[in-house]
């Protein structure tokens, strides 16, 4: 059974038709990388998957269950999907450890002790065990983003959504975040990654999806897409970024 199944997804913001009919299936354990020019709808698609944006048309199934934003319990749906944002969005009034424990404790009702143990374990995994008492404002961009990943993982999600998570970082900080993502992928996490990092797409993706103007132009394995793109728009885009 597919983990996420999207059919005929459309989304508009007022007169702006951002997604014009997306069909996409994400299998368990897959890393799907979405590429494409700015404004092509990549982020909107990602935000529709966890219903931060409500689609205007189309269906989204999660683990086979059709989600209706009006009647489904979206809080429950989102608990199983971690999301990492371009601008980190750590909670500035909480220290690093508290940023990670706040959701397990307050959403899942996990005992604080257990949440702290999990948080410390995750900080170890993202390489920041010494930062648990630090405030977000004391961290570099790369460190913030790694904490944000740990925060999402603390809910033990089935799938992780990454929305251009390295775009706001200084170039020398990009790799530390990509490394954490690679470890996650290697560990079997299902991931949907919107990115401009073609190296990551080539190396880690099971499936690369090229979007332009609200539609999926082409999709396939990294080899197919990067070495033998069929569509003109893919070729044009790749020639600009590679």
């Amino acid at each position: 059974m597919s983990m996420i199944e999207i059919k005929g997804l459309q989304k508009s913001f007022g007169d702006l038709h951002v997604l014009k009919g997306i069909d996409l299936t994400i299998e368990l354990g897959q890393v799907v990388v979405i590429i494409g020019p700015s404004g092509s709808g990549k982020s909107t698609l990602l935000r529709c998957i966890n219903f931060l944006e409500f689609p205007n048309e189309g269906e989204i199934r999660v683990n086979g269950e059709l989600i209706d934003p009006k009647t489904s319990n979206l809080d429950k749906v989102r608990q199983h999907m971690g999301m990492v944002f371009q601008q980190f969005q750590l909670f500035p009034h909480k220290n690093v450890l508290h940023n990670i424990t706040i959701a397990p404790v307050n959403v899942k009702g996990m005992p604080n002790k257990k949440a702290v143990a999990i948080a410390r374990d995750l900080l170890q995994k993202v390489g920041l065990p010494e930062k648990e008492k630090a405030w977000p404002s004391q961290l570099s961009g790369g460190q913030k983003q790694r904490v944000a990943i740990a925060r999402a993982l603390a809910m033990d999600p089935d799938i992780m959504l990454f929305d251009e998570v390295t775009s706001a970082l200084d170039p020398e900080l990009v790799n530390e975040v990509l490394q954490v993502m690679q470890d996650l992928a290697a560990g079997g996490m299902t991931m949907v990654v919107v990115t401009h990092e073609m190296g990551f797409a080539k190396e880690m993706a099971d499936q690369v999806v090229m979007m332009d103007d609200g539609l999926i132009v082409e999709q396939g394995t990294p080899e197919q897409l990067f070495e033998n793109p069929q569509e003109e728009r893919t070729q044009a885009f790749l020639s600009q970024v590679l």
């Binding site: 989102r78 500035p92 706040i102 959701a103």
Partner: protein, 221 residues
């Protein structure tokens, strides 16, 4: 020399009246924060009737002189229920300050980055928990300086309840000045009391501001 003995004569009496001023101010401002929070939420709400109610309340409290509101509420309310002048004054001050506090809190809440809400919701937090755990704590932190300002104004506004017969500091000074024919010294003295209160209060607010923002003191980046 004469002034020193004048100060000695009124020092304790004024201090006692100051206690009432402080009590009046503290209770009315605590109520104003509760009222302000309720109306801030009504104004943010997507319900047009709630918006209208909030806009009406804020418009009235900000659009009429405080002394008029005081008199109106004092004489208006005492037609319905028997209230001591202390409570009538306190409630009227709270009603008035509540409108300003509502606007301060509304602004603070709406100024929190929408991404913060999205991050909390993406973790599975409900709307309510997101507000209580993520948005409000940050909004309060930002609202402290303007709220402190509003509280200073509230302290000074409390002088007006003298006209309802509450024997607070200003009322005491009016009585004293009428009796001793030395208004200059009398008001100089009570004015100094208010000034000292405001200085202490300003200091407390800046302390609170630092305490609520532990992250900003040690920030290195």
């Amino acid at each position: 020399m004469a002034f020193i003995s004048f100060v000695q004569e009124y020092f304790w009496g004024f201090l006692l009246a100051t206690r009432l001023t402080l009590l009046l101010t503290a209770v009315s401002l605590a109520l104003a924060v509760v009222i302000g929070l309720v109306f801030a939420f009504l104004k943010i709400s997507k319900n047009p009737i709630a918006n209208l109610v909030a806009a009406g309340y804020i418009g009235i409290t900000r659009g009429m002189p405080l002394i008029v509101q005081l008199m109106f509420l004092y004489f208006g309310i005492s037609k319905l229920v028997v209230l001591s002048s202390f409570w009538a004054g306190t409630l009227a001050l709270a009603f008035h300050a509540g409108g300003y506090v509502a606007e301060i809190l509304r602004g603070a809440i709406q100024n929190i980055d929408k991404g913060q809400t999205e991050a909390a919701r993406s973790l599975g937090m409900s709307r309510r928990k997101t507000m209580a755990l993520i948005v409000l704590p940050q909004a309060f932190r930002r609202a402290v300086p303007p709220l402190g300002n509003q509280f200073i104004i509230g302290l000074k506004d409390s002088t007006l309840v003298a006209f309802l017969g509450v024997p607070e500091l200003f009322s005491k000074s009016m009585t004293a000045a009428a009796a001793n024919y030395r208004p200059f010294e009398t008001y100089l003295m009570s004015g100094t009391y208010y000034l000292v209160l405001v200085i202490i209060f300003t200091w407390l607010v800046s302390k609170l501001e630092k305490r609520l923002s532990p992250d900003r003191q040690e920030a290195t980046s």
